[in-house]
């Protein structure tokens, strides 16, 4: 785990691969992205590399990891660079992390690299910090499956020096990179996020850590067509993971399914439900005319302690005419905490 390109993740991973090989482990390189970096390329020498697979897509040829060839070779351990990578359409699986799951299922140990920016639950915070909406994300539960998470650290100043010396990217591309992720304040903030995440990953793996809580928390997220719902889902999941709390997501529809919604809203709600499921959140469609009472009823029946919602759009001071469910949920939920999730938008630079 690192916080930016060029901190030395791949180098460190290859170094460990050499150590494992020296200790007698049958290890191969399944995928390695050299980025033209001489030190890293030198480190890959002396390790067996499985050739990449070529895939034709729209008249161009792309290279991807050849998962089948690795399975056929079946080493004890395998090095796979760039865990969050999205495979080219036409590949057997959409994401490289899904290929890695296949290798793990076959009993092959995997060493892989990723930056903190790609962790799904931090997507809004990363957007806020860097102004970049990262599209290639890895669900948190996938990272939690790792037996170990190691932080590859480098100070931002040293990283910026590397960048200026042309070690990380070729010129031109480096200047482009300097604009966004590589501002010093952005790097420092991302690094802090990575360090805190690494600390959490360590704590998560200490088996008998228990903190005295009288209350066992259970979280519910309200899903609507509002595009901010994705933020509420991420935040609920992140808080839930840190608290060790179960997480549910519900949407309330009069018909008990999505058929009554206009197409645009139906697509949005479906997308949000899918997103929640991909993060391993259990989802339900509740039947009901009144969103607030349906949510609060569900909460009571299922011992929910916290309900996560998006910020209401309107602010009616005339409650009799108020239609916003969030306002009503706060009024109705006498035994639950309601979390109104903030819009985390890019900080002005």
């Amino acid at each position: 785990m690192g916080y930016a390109a060029g901190v030395g993740k791949t180098y460190k991973m290859l170094e460990e691969a050499h150590q494992l090989k020296a200790a007698g482990v049958d290890i191969v390189i399944g995928y390695f992205e050299p980025h033209g970096r001489q030190d890293t390329i030198a480190k890959s020498e002396g390790l067996e590399t499985i050739s990449r697979k070529t895939i034709d897509y729209r008249g161009s040829t792309f290279e991807e990891m050849d998962t089948d060839a690795i399975l056929a070779r079946h080493p004890q351990a395998c090095v796979v660079d760039e865990f969050p990578h999205t495979n080219i359409p036409g590949s057997a699986r959409g994401k490289r992390w899904e290929d890695v799951q296949v290798l793990l299922d076959a009993g092959i140990d995997v060493l892989t690299t990723m930056n903190i920016q790609h962790l799904e639950s931090l997507n809004d915070q990363v957007w806020n910090i860097s102004g970049v909406r990262v599209r290639e994300t890895v669900p948190d539960w996938v990272v939690q499956q790792a037996d170990e998470v190691v932080m590859v650290d480098l100070t931002p100043r040293a990283l910026l020096h590397r960048l200026q010396r042309g070690v990380v990217y070729e010129r031109g591309k480096a200047e482009q990179a300097l604009q966004k992720f590589f501002r010093e304040s952005t790097l420092v903030a991302l690094r802090e996020l990575a360090l805190r995440q690494a600390a959490h990953e360590v704590e998560y793996r200490i088996s008998n850590v228990t903190v005295q809580t009288r209350k066992h928390h259970k979280i519910l997220v309200l899903i609507t067509a509002n595009p901010k719902t994705a933020m509420a889902i991420r935040r609920a999941k992140r808080i839930g993971d840190f608290l060790g709390a179960e997480c549910f997501a519900v949407t309330v529809q009069p018909s008990g399914d999505l058929s009554g919604l206009p197409e645009v809203d139906r697509e949005a709600v479906e997308r949000h439900l899918n997103f929640a499921r991909n993060l391993h959140i259990e989802t339900r469609i509740l039947e009901g005319e009144d969103v607030a009472s349906a949510v609060v009823d569900f909460g009571r029946r299922n011992q929910i302690t916290q309900i996560f919602v998006t910020r209401p759009r309107g602010w009616s001071s005339l409650p009799a005419l108020t239609r916003d469910p969030v306002q009503r949920i706060i009024g109705l939920a006498k035994d639950m905490q309601i979390v109104i999730v903030s819009d985390r938008e890019p900080a002005a630079q």
């Binding site: 304040s185 420092v188 805190r196 959490h200 001071s317 903030s342 938008e345």
Partner: protein, 362 residues
């Protein structure tokens, strides 16, 4: 109460900050932080010495560990080492020789040593401070066990008491900190009785590792705030979770604090409890308020008593200035919904950009 202050331009602020930095400290300090011996701090640090030397920098090693691991020997062969000065029973870095030699960068492997009696400074970190004052850049290594303020935590984990420590303020004064992270050694096949012991050792190491990562994150957070302040930047990044519990005399303190404490604990975040002073509160309310503040105090929260006319504005201004990421407020049922959006809580929810608002039933 309004004050008219001309805001400084970013350029002015930058110059001011740079001047302050230069006045406060001449040399630049970089620290390699590890969580146990054997994670490879010495190697990483001396490998940096090698690279700097290859780039033509004037590099000197001022201290090495008493036992040199085999992988470090080849590195040391190509580096200039100024040996420790032996005095009676102990040894210390040769401060005078180092200052006379005045390299561009001095490497100190092991920051937490006490000097033998009779020397200018009782500890090595104070010697390092002198090197910095003399304008020498210092790169040093330390293990988390030797941070003074973490002694209680470390002892609880390891059961060992160390006497040679470095204050955390010195670590935080570093211009750069780099953590050397590695998981505890790969488990090897052991007989069952040793297996349990090895497992416990791994757990202990993991706890130390977590402490080290959190300390590094705190130092980085400190640097980030200094950087933002220095550049006159107002934005807050929320890389650290900061919780503000807003209380009133009737706040449901137990539930609010319980949730706040566990979230702060799990995220290694900060917890602040704030109260906005109200004029003419009853003695009954004052007693209730005092009891709540005592609970906050006992929980180790920072406590802020704020002043101002509009409680919501005061709390939001304070929250923004502190980079709060989560605002905890109570919602009084009795007053009913009709008051909600006209109440301070409604305003807090509406205007709390960048912060989650957690509403507690009262």
């Amino acid at each position: 109460m309004k004050r008219e202050v001309r805001r400084k331009t970013p350029e002015e602020l930058l110059l001011e900050c740079q001047a302050e930095e230069a006045a406060a400290k001449k040399g630049h300090l970089k620290i390699f932080l590890g969580y146990a011996s054997g994670v490879g701090k010495s190697f990483r640090m001396l490998d940096e010495a090698r690279r700097r030397r290859e780039r033509g920098q004037d590099v000197v090693v001022g201290a090495i560990q008493p036992k040199v691991p085999p992988e470090i020997e080849p590195l040391l062969k190509n580096l200039e080492v100024i040996p420790l000065k032996r005095i009676d029973a102990g040894a210390a870095i040769d401060l005078d020789a180092l200052i006379r030699r005045h390299p561009l960068v001095c490497f100190i492997d092991g920051l937490a040593y006490s000097n033998p009696p009779g020397l200018r400074n009782p500890t090595r970190w104070q010697d390092v401070q002198e090197l910095l004052n003399a304008g020498i850049k210092v790169i040093a290594s330390i293990n988390i066990q030797y941070i003074a303020e973490l002694q209680k935590d470390v002892e609880a984990i390891t059961g060992k008491h160390v006497t040679e420590t470095v204050p955390v303020s010195f670590i935080k004064s570093a211009d750069e900190i780099e953590i050397v992270d590695a998981p505890p050694e790969e488990p090897v096949e052991r007989p069952p009785d040793e297996q349990a012991e090895a497992h416990e050792r791994d757990q202990r190491l993991s706890r130390l590792r977590e402490l080290a990562l959190v300390l590094a994150a705190d130092v980085v957070d400190h640097q980030l705030n200094a950087y933002l302040e220095c550049h006159g930047l107002k934005q807050q990044f929320g890389a650290n979770e900061r919780i503000l519990v807003c209380i009133t005399p009737r706040a449901n303190m137990q539930e609010m604090m319980e949730t706040a404490q566990i979230i702060a604990h799990r995220f290694h975040g900060e917890l602040t409890v704030a109260y906005v002073n109200q004029p003419n509160i009853s003695s009954e309310d004052q007693t209730a308020l005092d009891a709540r503040l005592a609970i906050a105090n006992a929980a180790g929260a920072h406590i802020e008593i704020l002043e101002g006319e509009d409680p919501a504005d005061v709390l939001l201004d304070f929250a923004r200035s502190r980079g709060i990421t989560q605002l905890f407020v109570g919602h009084t049922q009795r007053r009913g919904l009709s008051r909600l959006w006209g109440s301070p809580i409604g305003k807090l929810i509406r205007d709390s950009r960048g912060m989650d608002v957690r509403v507690f039933p009262q």
